[in-house]
Symmetry: C2
Subunit: 348 residues, 2 copies
DNA sequence: GTGAAAGCGCTAACAG
DNA sequence: CTGTTAGCGCTTTCAC
């Protein structure tokens, strides 16, 4: 109805409704006072013309762009996408759109993206990473807009969101114990990761002792090696393995099957991350701890908007609960609590 | 230097440089004519004050926001992220930022995101999907801004980018033949997918005959089943399997190993997608066809900007070449042509 | 109740 | 070569 030339402006609406531009503006924004009749007439005119207010003009006055930026160094997307989905879900209804900026670990690239966003007057920035004990390669202090951190370390006194690894790990190990497992071991990633230490300490707390923790890399092959180490000797073997992530868990499950050890009958296995592609394709499918990344994203979106609107937000680190997604590898309840129905289809 | 209050405006720069606002504008944009001395003085003042032009004010006049939108229904992120990375890479230097909008397959959500972006005066939109024979659940015709399609079907006469599956598959099968494989079979996804038919026809063209094509699902388990079917009978067995995607390939490789059949010594396997997490963790790592999604993204970014700037762009479908990434599963050259060095680290 | 006028921060004619 | 003037499309006092 308005193809080609200029889009319809509030001026056109006002003329059609036979009011002034000022009245039209008030009518459409439900501000000011006027007859219901007038307001409706304006709204009808707007609808008829397909009027959409120019956000730039509005933003220029209100000093808000209804735009926020997501800065991330997680190129691989494991963390970013769910977080992004959550942010977006929390903000679309409020008319806020999100700039996604992947900055690798390149300070220069980070600077470029940050500047571009600041020029565009973003209302706030969410910094997201893949390790809670590492910072993004770009300085976000003293910015003219609020910043919320998700899954990455923030400045002193900033608002930070992380998953509650301790609680998640606790649930995982308790789940194993509840299924009568007596000899639970923990096979995990490099001890240098804060989350590795956190998960291991939860494991120890639940089993009430030192237990047995094997540190390695985040790979399937490490899962294989760990099984070789654990089952390579005579004597008692574990009857459950709590893994630091799903890839390790998959390696463990595969290695056990190759040795003729039944999962979950003889050994229960639980992973961490609930990375669909890995967890659901393992045979049997993995019980795994889900970090609720989308919820973290929603919360980050909500908080950054509160800050943008000048509302007070208590600084500090907020831990959001994980949830255990039970599949077959832990032998537990048959009830599968997955969100998705089938497999994610691959290749186009 | 400007903490708290209003940001510095061009007015402040002008005053410090002792020129008018108009001159300051021209100096900073390298337009108009003036003494080098004046220009430099203004620039120095801008630097000193840390002046960053307000993109909204500028956009309001120029009717450009230096912003584009990426609309996608690929929640899973397999396709979107690399494409997004490419777009972003092609546009940051030009000062363009990208709105990422995941719309699932929800028309209402699509509409909301689309409206939000149009309100923000995006200069263009890139529509991206996961199947070249499916459309996004939102009508993108008659928009006041240009649209470029990537990996999803566009309107009649639109600009569309896809990977050249035929060429990619051809390279894969020729690679197998070049390594003296005589009985190559093709295990792939559902025949309803255009890309499945395309890949299969390339397979047939290269081997010069009907060959043997097994259609199934995009899963690892289908790879297992296919092996059971192919090796379940007596007589001659294949010496190479060209798979429709990496998940199937992984299933095939695992199933072969379980049967004691050596990969790549007895059977060569090639996958499709080059999905790092699957390809590199398979034992042995998968040779696979990479669709160069990032290149598709770069091209999409470049094209949408050309269109936004009013330059003519030939409509039609453009196929971008795939490249074969050789790892161990095909036995070929030991040379590994991977981009990344190590494993993607998992869970923080 | 409604409208005229000012102005957000910047750029682009057009004078001087 | 530089400054003055007029807006971009919208919101918002403040009169009427």
């Amino acid at each position: 109805m308005n193809a080609g030339g200029g889009r319809v402006r509030i001026y056109d609406v006002a003329r059609l409704a036979e009011v002034s531009v000022a009245t039209a503006s008030k009518a459409l924004n439900d501000t000011g006072r006027m007859t219901e009749e007038t307001r409706n007439r304006v709204k009808a005119a707007a609808t008829e013309l397909g009027f959409r207010p120019n956000a730039m003009a509005r933003g220029l006055i209100q000093k808000r762009s209804f735009t926020i930026g997501l800065l991330t160094n997680d190129t691989y997307g494991r963390f970013t996408l769910p977080v992004m989905a959550g942010i977006s879900a929390a903000l679309v209804d409020r008319g806020v759109s999100v700039f996604l900026c992947g900055i690798e670990d390149d300070p220069a690239l980070g600077r470029v993206h940050l500047d571009a966003m600041l020029d565009k007057q973003v209302d706030g920035i969410i910094a997201s990473g893949k390790r809670i004990d590492r910072r993004l390669p770009v300085d976000l202090s003293d910015l003219p807009v609020p910043v919320v951190y998700a899954f990455t370390e923030g400045q002193e006194g900033s608002v930070t969101l992380v998953s509650d690894d301790f609680q998640g790990s606790t649930e995982a190990v308790e789940h194993l114990l509840a299924h009568d497992r007596k000899r639970v071991v923990h096979v995990t990633g490099p001890e240098t990761f804060a989350s590795v230490r956190e998960r291991a300490s939860a494991y120890r707390a639940v089993i009430g002792g030192e237990g047995r923790v094997l540190y390695g890399t985040w790979s399937e092959s490490w899962g294989h090696e760990a099984v070789a180490e654990l089952w390579g000797t005579d004597g008692e073997h574990p009857d459950a393995v709590f893994c630091g992530n799903d890839q390790i868990a998959r390696g463990v499950v595969d290695a056990l099957r190759e040795r003729g050890i039944k999962v979950p009958e003889s050994v229960s296995v639980v992973g961490f991350d609930n990375w669909e592609i890995v967890a659901s394709q393992t045979r049997p499918p993995l019980t795994s701890v889900d970090m609720n990344l989308e919820a973290i994203g929603r919360e980050a979106g909500r908080l950054v908007l509160e800050l943008a609107e000048g509302k007070p937000v208590e600084p500090g680190v907020r831990k959001l609960p994980c949830r255990l997604v039970i599949r077959q590898s832990s032998g537990g309840d048959a009830a599968v609590t997955e969100r998705r129905g089938g497999l994610a289809t691959a290749a186009d």
